[in-house]
């Protein structure tokens, strides 16, 4: 056992490298998914019902398929349409598209239950649609959804592990590499597990911090 730990420790750079990629995947996906989700949720407020339906179909489709399958689909499917991307780009794209659907649904649901009267006050004061969103809707929306978005970020962390199957060298990939090369399954996976745990705790802490600040602003 201690031999195993030694081996994992000797190859800590491989694991840390994978860990940093997981952090990077999560960070980029989180930012992109919140932006995309905010745009899609805003478009769903539009008077054009067709736009609403199209986005709704996208959201429902993503929520109905397993992420692993979706990653495979992009990895093997896109080249069939002549679109060639690195496994890293494909994996990142899959994570962003998939998570955006969830974030859209979270924001749309919270938007519908925001207090109607303070938005109406914004309209009565002559806020343009953009300014209404920017100054009146956005902050309450993010404060209201902070815990749900936090959960979603943790989901992104865990979904990113699936990307090993399309050879994205993230943390699970790195752990698998170490264990299969040096046959140290237990120690390598435990190390990966601890690193995942640290990352999700970090997310939890940040979300709890935002949530505390949100309480007096609701």
């Amino acid at each position: 056992m201690s031999r195993d730990i030694d081996i994992v420790w000797q190859h800590r750079d491989v694991l840390l490298d994978g860990f940093m990629r997981t952090v990077l995947l999560t960070t980029i996906t989180t930012i992109a998914a919140i932006l995309t989700g905010a745009i899609l949720a805003t478009l769903m407020q539009s008077r054009f019902r067709l736009l609403f339906s199209i986005i709704q179909i996208f959201v429902d489709t993503m929520r109905c398929i397993p992420f692993l399958l979706f990653a495979y689909l992009l990895y093997y499917g896109l080249p069939a349409f002549g679109i060639r991307m690195s496994s890293w780009s494909t994996g990142l794209l899959a994570l962003i598209v998939y998570s955006s659907a969830y974030v859209t649904e979270i924001l749309r649901g919270a938007w519908a239950s925001l207090p109607r009267d303070s938005i109406e006050a914004g309209e009565a004061f002559g806020f343009s649609r953009f300014n209404l969103f920017r100054h009146i809707v956005l902050a309450p929306l993010l404060f209201a959804t902070a815990p749900l978005i936090g959960n979603q970020i943790i989901q992104i962390v865990k979904d990113s592990a699936f990307l090993m199957v399309i050879t994205v060298p993230e943390l699970t990939y790195a752990a698998t590499y170490v264990q299969s090369t040096y046959f140290t399954p237990f120690a390598a996976f435990i190390a990966a597990l601890v690193l995942y745990w640290c990352l999700t705790m970090l997310v939890e802490t940040v979300v709890a911090f935002i949530d505390r600040r949100a309480v007096i602003r609701r």
């Binding site: 207090p115 009267d117 303070s118 109406e120 006050a121 914004g122 309209e123 009565a124 004061f125 002559g126 806020f127 343009s128 649609r129 300014n131 920017r134 100054h135 009146i136 902050a139 309450p140 404060f143 007096i216 602003r217 609701r218």
Partner: protein
């Protein structure tokens, strides 16, 4: 700003032939109403008589089905000379000149008291921040909340929230101020502080249209009382006449019920 030639005697607000239905239920039926510069008009009437809807038609929060609304001679909601709706941008522009105070305050919960007052002038009127800040400080002083400038609305009492609501509306320097039952959501002991602020505005000559159930306030502060029932204006009268010698039987009934309720309340209170 005001392309239509405006005579000094022209009303600030002119409502003509406004009707509005929600489904099969007709809420407003051919309403005519003028409010002149510096005038305070109180809208009284039983619950469900259409008072609040009329107020919300004035700034097009509830678009009327028929009729016209003129703010200082300029149409609200519809483009001049037709029945085409204004664009959102055109509507927003004219709305900046109509201040509104809401029954449930409708403050922006994520902004401090100060930011609530500054938001409209900053983001809608795009006036310079330093000027807006100075004015906001002055307005908060005026409603007696200077020391609450950096507090979030959740930390305020109802009366304080509503005074912020008034300061927020005043910050837009509106030519007309609408009050939608500003004291109805307040604990009885907090009503006075809000009415005091409103009395101050009356004294300054603000042009106000007030939906209220505060009879004493209407009697002392209004220039004119408009009484509504079932979506129609039943009586328009000056306050003294209205309360001492109403012209219609309907108002007499309303006042009789109101005063018996008030007396009942006082009796119950003193019995405790």
């Amino acid at each position: 700003m005001n392309p239509v030639s405006q005579q000094p005697d022209d009303p600030v607000l002119s409502v003509h032939g406004i009707s509005k239905s929600f489904g099969a239920h007709q809420v407003l039926d051919d309403i005519d109403l003028n409010v002149h510069r510096g005038e305070t008009v109180c809208l009284l009437g039983p619950s469900g008589s259409g008072k609040s809807t009329l107020l919300r038609c004035v700034n097009w929060l509830d678009p009327p089905d028929a009729g016209t609304i003129l703010l200082a001679g300029q149409r609200v909601g519809l483009r001049p000379g037709g029945n085409h709706r204004m664009s959102d941008r055109e509507l927003a522009k004219i709305r900046t000149r109509i201040g509104m105070v809401f029954q449930h305050f409708a403050l922006w919960p994520h902004l401090t008291v100060m930011e609530n007052v500054m938001a409209g002038p900053r983001y809608v009127q795009r006036r310079p921040p330093s000027e807006v800040r100075d004015e906001a400080i002055a307005l908060l002083g005026k409603v007696g909340l200077a020391e609450k400038a950096n507090v979030y609305p959740a930390r305020l009492s109802g009366g304080q929230k509503q005074r912020v609501g008034i300061a927020r509306a005043l910050a837009m320097q509106p030519s007309l101020l609408l009050f939608d039952e500003p004291t109805s959501a307040l604990d009885p002991e907090l009503v006075g502080e809000v009415l005091d602020v409103m009395r101050g505005l009356v004294a300054e000559g603000m042009t106000m249209l007030v939906v209220t159930h505060e009879m004493a306030f209407a009697r002392e502060a209004a220039d004119r009382i408009v009484f509504m029932d079932h979506g129609r204006i039943v009586e328009t009268n000056d306050p003294e006449q209205f309360f001492s010698a109403p012209a219609t039987e309907r108002v007499r009934q309303f006042l009789a019920r109101y005063s018996s309720e008030t007396i009942g309340k006082i009796r119950r209170r003193s019995a405790r």
